[in-house]
């Protein structure tokens, strides 16, 4: 991959042709994917297409290639677009905004601002020390992992625009309301005191400024490589489980225990989702397989949101700046929001 990165053409014309070539190769691979595995398994290896085991293997190989292709394409596009935004710009936009309007803006900006969870603490301190209200800062920190552009891209290609719109609106609502509540209860007393004592020094650099198109393209390629390197074990486990569910679990198994009429389906999904640490891309194959088996979308969205928004590593990071009381309140408010969304959408979509 580093070889590829070093060879991004530097001329405008070279870049355009490079991108067109890459896009065509991508579409070609995506369209050929299923036929290639048909040919390899049933043609070259002579396996029986109707056997349950070969069907599971076929599903696994096909889905792995499909998800990997989707991820590479989506991450590349998202990263290039996001390279025009930065946490620094977001802070400038949020400075001096009151609660209410501030919460709405912060949630929206949380979606489009490039942000890695390892920057959560510097961003938190940077926002609060610059006078952005605590509740508004929390709206940003909740929306950022909860409504994830990569998840938006995956949902759009796998489930269509309706589910995607529900996901975005629901996630934004949780971030806005949860941040607003955390701002109302005067939670400042539960922030570690050093945050308010920190003085912002130096001259901050806006990472989005002054980049050439070549650099943005390179960032896109690198980000796709970095994320795939990081999540491939989760992805393979997720797709493997998805393939097993697809091939072996009877259709009525899940619907009996967690179907649309189930009382505790959403609660169980959230309880399972919180300790699972993955990102939205990693669990998408499982969500897809479970959806095929009749699990309702509200339950699945609640599961996905619990996985991405509430995770132990993130809690450990936030504990550096939040006292246990506020951390517990944060988990309770976001958790209840996710559960409410699960039940609401099971009800609406039923």
């Amino acid at each position: 991959m580093s070889l590829l990165v070093d060879h991004v053409p530097t001329t405008r014309r070279g870049q355009v042709w490079g991108l067109v070539g890459a896009a065509m190769a991508w579409v070609g691979l995506y369209l050929l994917n299923e036929h290639v595995w048909d040919w390899v398994l049933y043609g070259a290896l002579g396996l029986h297409p109707l056997s349950r085991a070969t069907e599971t293997i076929h599903f696994f190989l096909y889905d792995t290639a499909k998800i990997a292709l989707l991820l590479v394409g989506i991450i590349f596009i998202v990263t290039v677009l996001r390279s025009f935004m930065s946490v620094e710009r977001t802070r400038a936009l949020l400075g001096g905004k009151r609660e209410g309007v501030g919460n709405v803006m912060a949630a929206g900006l949380g979606v489009i601002t490039p942000f890695c969870s390892c920057s959560a603490v510097p961003a938190f301190i940077g926002f609060v020390a610059a006078g952005v209200p605590l509740g508004v800062t929390m709206s940003f920190l909740i929306a950022s992992p909860l409504v994830n552009e990569i998840a938006i891209g995956m949902l759009l290609t796998l489930f269509g625009w309706k589910v995607t719109a529900i996901y975005v609106v629901a996630g934004l609502t949780v971030a806005i309301v949860a941040g607003w509540i955390l701002g109302r209860v005067k939670a400042e007393r539960w922030v570690e005191p050093f945050v308010f004592e920190t003085t912002l020094g130096g001259q901050s650099i806006d990472p989005a400024a002054g980049l050439t198109m070549e650099q943005r393209i390179q960032m896109g390629i690198e980000e796709a490589a970095t994320i795939l390197r990081k999540i491939w074990p989760y992805l393979l486990v997720g797709i493997g489980l998805g393939a097993v569910i697809h091939g072996w679990v009877p259709t009525d198994f899940f619907t009996t225990y967690a179907g649309p009429g189930s009382t505790f389906g959403v609660l169980i999904a959230v309880a399972i989702g919180i300790p699972l640490y993955s990102n939205a891309a990693g669990i998408m194959p499982m969500v897809q397989a479970l959806y095929e088996k009749g699990l309702p979308m509200g339950t699945l969205l609640a599961f996905m949101m619990a996985v991405v928004a509430l995770s132990l590593p993130e809690m450990i990071l936030l504990r550096r700046v939040l006292k246990p009381q506020l951390l517990a309140l944060f988990i309770a408010v976001v958790g209840s929001g996710i559960i409410a969304i699960g039940y609401l959408f099971n009800f609406i979509l039923a």
Partner: protein
């Protein structure tokens, strides 16, 4: 020269440290690399997007890992000789 890599230890922070070491070795510069993981100190440079690169107390890169060629340019132009 004194070079500091600011970041709490995420993947990209390690990447930045690695490419910086490579670039220094390649250019044969006389430089020391320090890792800064303390949030108070990171904020002291005004950096919200990690990882960041500081050359002789001046922030030159924030929120991304630059390409080796860009990094070599940054180091050469900051180098006294």
């Amino acid at each position: 020269m004194i070079i500091k890599v600011l970041g709490p230890g995420c993947t990209n922070c390690k990447n930045l440290e690695r490419v910086t070491k490579d670039a220094i070795a390649e250019l044969g510069l006389d430089a020391t690399i320090e890792k800064v993981e303390d949030y108070g100190q990171i904020m002291g440079y005004g950096v919200m997007s990690t990882p960041a690169l500081v050359i002789d107390e001046k922030v030159v890169v924030s929120g991304r890992v630059p390409q080796p060629s860009e990094l070599r340019d940054l180091l050469t132009s900051a180098s006294p000789n």
